[in-house]
């Protein structure tokens, strides 16, 4: 692209604007700039990831070495064990995957990639983060109140979740529901902002099919979230009433039904998988096209595929309830829809491969993460077929097989996808390049232990090991030596993986401190965020020189051009 001769992005008009209002820390807290809000979401999410990771460390240590004090935590009681697994799941999905993939990258990328200077509702955007922040405090508080944190699994099935005489956490379980409910409100506010921003604030010339796929994915995910979370919000109100004022929505004794919660929860819970999956898939598409220097295979098919995935995702929820006493005829229907939804997802995997085919591939750190996402998610997807078929699921239900399966989907999404996005956009976010050598060490020391953790758990699950057991030595018929060895292997692998994250933090710190500034477009990519400075100033571009779009974002190696890329904003 043609670098502007003068510094176009630092307009005085915008600098003046930025200086109004509170200063210092207050300025940071009350900023309406989408990039600042993105960072707030990002760092809150990373902080919560540390807490969720610590929880995993404690309960894996308990499983590998039952009855021994865990360094840094002490003895784990059965109640604490249940609270740890419950909140590990809750935090990793609602306070790590959602805020980082959807909110942080959505906030950072949408305005930059569609050539806007901010969201269409900057103040609502700020409100969204503030509500999210309050929800974070509520969920953390729920862990330390009297009676301890909620311990009824992240799915919160009644009657265990509804009645404190069963769950023994009267405060913790109510705070848990309130925290999750507030978090939903925050993402509804953010989602409406994302959707309307994409609809109305695209740069002049940018048609629907010129929008980078990751933006499409984040917005489709926001719509899915919005349309699926409503019934669960209603369900959460009912659950809070059951907990606090003694209604009986989920209590058969007063005409209620505990299965209702399962329906409401999974009607949200399954689309939720796609809510976090789609942004990760979009990130990987951006990375693969950039580092294969090749046009995305079948742009429009991708869009139609994700819409089909979204529609289908509303009709698969009862595959989580095959042993909950649902009608076997209904189970057949949900088996069929569940197997159907693997078709569009497989299609996306083929699109990745077709895009890579014949490309000129650079194995940079972001690309490694991107390729690992495809490979690892594939394992998660294929094992999902076993669980989607009612016959196999009745055997596998609530075993470690299920646990390994969804970690093979959520880990690629929330961890691999996030690292892919983070390393790819780090130069744009912080204006510095990351260290490639450290990045690759971090990559391999995360990916290899990840597989070492969860492949043994697949075997445990096939051996019939139930996933909600605190101490296997209490059950002589389950406490088989070879299985215990596998648990120890998985726990050691987890320790290596957690340790490897220090490489990542060191790399961030080192890159952040380095004097060398990142160029505007270090990867020679096409989309609009690479046409402004790194990091972009307040307002992203000079107000008089907002970008105009002439083509789609994946024009790499166009025949007849000297450069192998063709920025979206470059006139013919």
């Amino acid at each position: 692209m043609v670098e502007p001769a003068v510094d176009l992005t630092h307009g005085h008009a915008h600098d003046d604007h930025a200086d109004h209002g509170p200063q210092g820390w207050l300025k940071y807290l009350w900023s309406t700039d989408h990039k600042v809000i993105a960072m707030q979401y990002m760092f809150t999410g990373m902080f919560m990831a540390l807490i969720g990771g610590f929880m995993a460390y404690v309960f894996r240590m308990q499983l590998a070495f039952p009855g021994m004090p865990v360094p840094g935590f002490g003895m784990v009681s059965p109640g604490e064990y249940n609270a740890l697994v419950t909140n590990h799941g809750t935090i990793m999905i609602f306070w790590v995957a959602m805020p980082v993939l959807l909110a942080a990258f959505g906030n950072f990328l949408i305005p930059l990639m569609i050539g806007a200077d901010d969201m269409v509702f900057p103040k609502i955007n700020r409100l969204s983060f503030q509500v999210f922040f309050v929800s974070t405090i509520v969920i953390l508080a729920s862990l330390v109140v009297e009676g301890g944190g909620f311990a009824g699994a992240w799915t919160a099935y009644p009657p265990l979740s509804a009645d404190s005489t069963y769950n023994l956490t009267p405060l913790g379980s109510t705070l848990w529901v309130i925290g999750v409910g507030l978090e939903f409100v925050a993402f509804l506010l953010g989602g409406i902002n994302f959707i309307t921003t994409l609809m109305n604030s695209r740069a002049p010339g940018m048609r629907a099919f010129d929008v980078p796929i990751v933006v499409w994915m984040i917005v489709v995910a926001s719509i899915l979230f919005m349309l699926s979370v409503g019934p669960l919000l209603a369900g959460a109100i009912m659950l809070i009433f059951d907990q606090t004022i003694g209604t009986g929505f989920y209590n058969p004794a007063t005409g209620g039904d505990p299965i209702l919660w399962q329906h409401l929860f999974w009607f949200f819970g399954h689309p939720e998988v796609y809510v976090v999956l789609l942004p990760a898939m979009g990130v990987v598409i951006e990375i693969i096209t950039t580092f294969a220097r090749k046009k995305l295979f079948a742009y429009r098919t991708v869009i139609f595929t994700i819409v089909a995935t979204g529609v289908l995702s509303f009709f698969v929820w009862a595959h989580h309830q095959f042993i909950a006493g649902i009608d076997p005829r209904m189970a057949n229907i949900f088996t069929i829809t569940t197997l159907l939804i693997s078709v569009p997802i497989a299609e996306l995997c083929f699109i990745y491969i077709a895009t890579l085919y014949g490309g000129s591939i650079t194995l940079s750190t972001p690309m490694l993460w991107g390729l690992a996402f495809v490979a690892e998610f594939l394992i998660g997807g294929v094992t999902g077929i076993f669980l989607g078929a009612a016959g196999a699921d009745i055997y596998f239900h609530d075993t470690y097989f299920v646990l390994a399966h969804f970690h093979y989907t959520f880990f690629p999404i929330a961890i691999i996808g996030t690292f892919a996005a983070f390393t790819y956009w780090f130069p744009k976010m912080f204006g510095k390049m990351m260290d490639e050598r450290l990045g690759k060490w971090h990559f391999w020391l995360t990916i290899i232990p990840f597989n070492m953790i969860f492949i043994p758990l697949f075997v445990l699950g096939m051996g019939g090991q139930h996933r909600r057991i605190y101490n296997y030595t209490h059950f002589p018929e389950l406490a088989i030596d070879i299985f215990q060895d596998m648990r120890i292997v998985a726990t050691f692998a987890l320790l290596i993986m957690l340790g490897a994250q220090f490489i990542f933090f060191y790399n961030c710190w080192k890159s952040w401190r380095s004097k060398e500034r990142a160029p505007r477009n270090p990867w020679k990519a096409n989309s609009l965020e690479w046409t402004t400075e790194s990091p972009p100033p307040h307002g992203n571009w000079h107000p008089d020189r907002m970008p105009v779009v002439y083509r789609g974002p994946y024009e790499y190696n166009v025949p007849g051009r000297e450069d192998d890329y063709w920025p979206q904003n470059e006139p013919k």
């Binding site: 806007a116 409406i192 109305n200 695209r202 919005m226 979370v229 209603a234 929505f249 005409g255 107000p543």
Partner: protein, 189 residues
């Protein structure tokens, strides 16, 4: 200075209006989930008809009429705002708020009557849904009326007249939710 993003309209529809429709989409599924749960339970529990028989259909019908009328004044407010007559728009909006207050007053009387006769939220499944659904709806009435008061205050000074239509759209939604609640909770005995 407003961000440039807020001044664009690539779809040709104002951003505020798009956002209101998306808010309604998210609200439809909240009430949809609650009412679908209620309908499924009601079909499985014919005995809930006894509890439903206690609700006063005539008072419910009066409240339906009040809400429908308040929607009419919301439309008249929009019409006045289109003409640029902020004062008249504000006047009609205040009429709508008055309708909301009457609705809430009647609701308070109903609940007082029912609770004092021993029909509380914990009595049985019907009453649990009755108070939860009507309560969630009343919460929306209150929120709508408060926002409407701010819009009316601005409109009276001739400012932000486009918001009159937006709050009107929201108000029609609140109205339509009640159109579903009334037959489900009052008429189906």
């Amino acid at each position: 200075m407003r961000p440039i993003a807020t001044t664009r309209a690539a779809t040709g529809t104002a951003t505020g209006k798009l956002a209101v429709w998306w808010v309604l989409a998210s609200e439809v599924v909240i009430f949809g989930g609650l009412l679908a749960s209620y309908v499924m339970f009601r079909l499985g529990h014919p005995e809930w008809a006894d509890a439903a028989a206690v609700t006063n259909t005539w008072i419910g019908a009066f409240n339906t009429w009040v809400l429908l009328t308040s929607s009419l004044t919301a439309v008249l407010a929009h019409q006045a705002a289109e003409r640029g007559d902020g004062k008249k728009a504000a006047m009609y909006l205040y009429c709508t708020i008055f309708g909301a207050l009457v609705f809430l007053g009647v609701k308070t009387y109903e609940w007082w009557y029912e609770i004092s006769h021993g029909y509380t939220i914990t009595s049985n499944g019907f009453w649990a849904f009755y108070y939860t659904a009507a309560g969630l709806h009343a919460f929306h009435v209150i929120a709508g009326a408060v926002i409407m008061a701010f819009v009316a205050r601005d409109a009276a000074k001739g400012r932000e007249l486009h918001r009159v239509e937006l709050i009107g759209i929201y108000w029609h939604f609140v109205d339509i939710v009640w159109i579903f609640l009334f037959p489900l909770l009052y008429i189906a005995k």
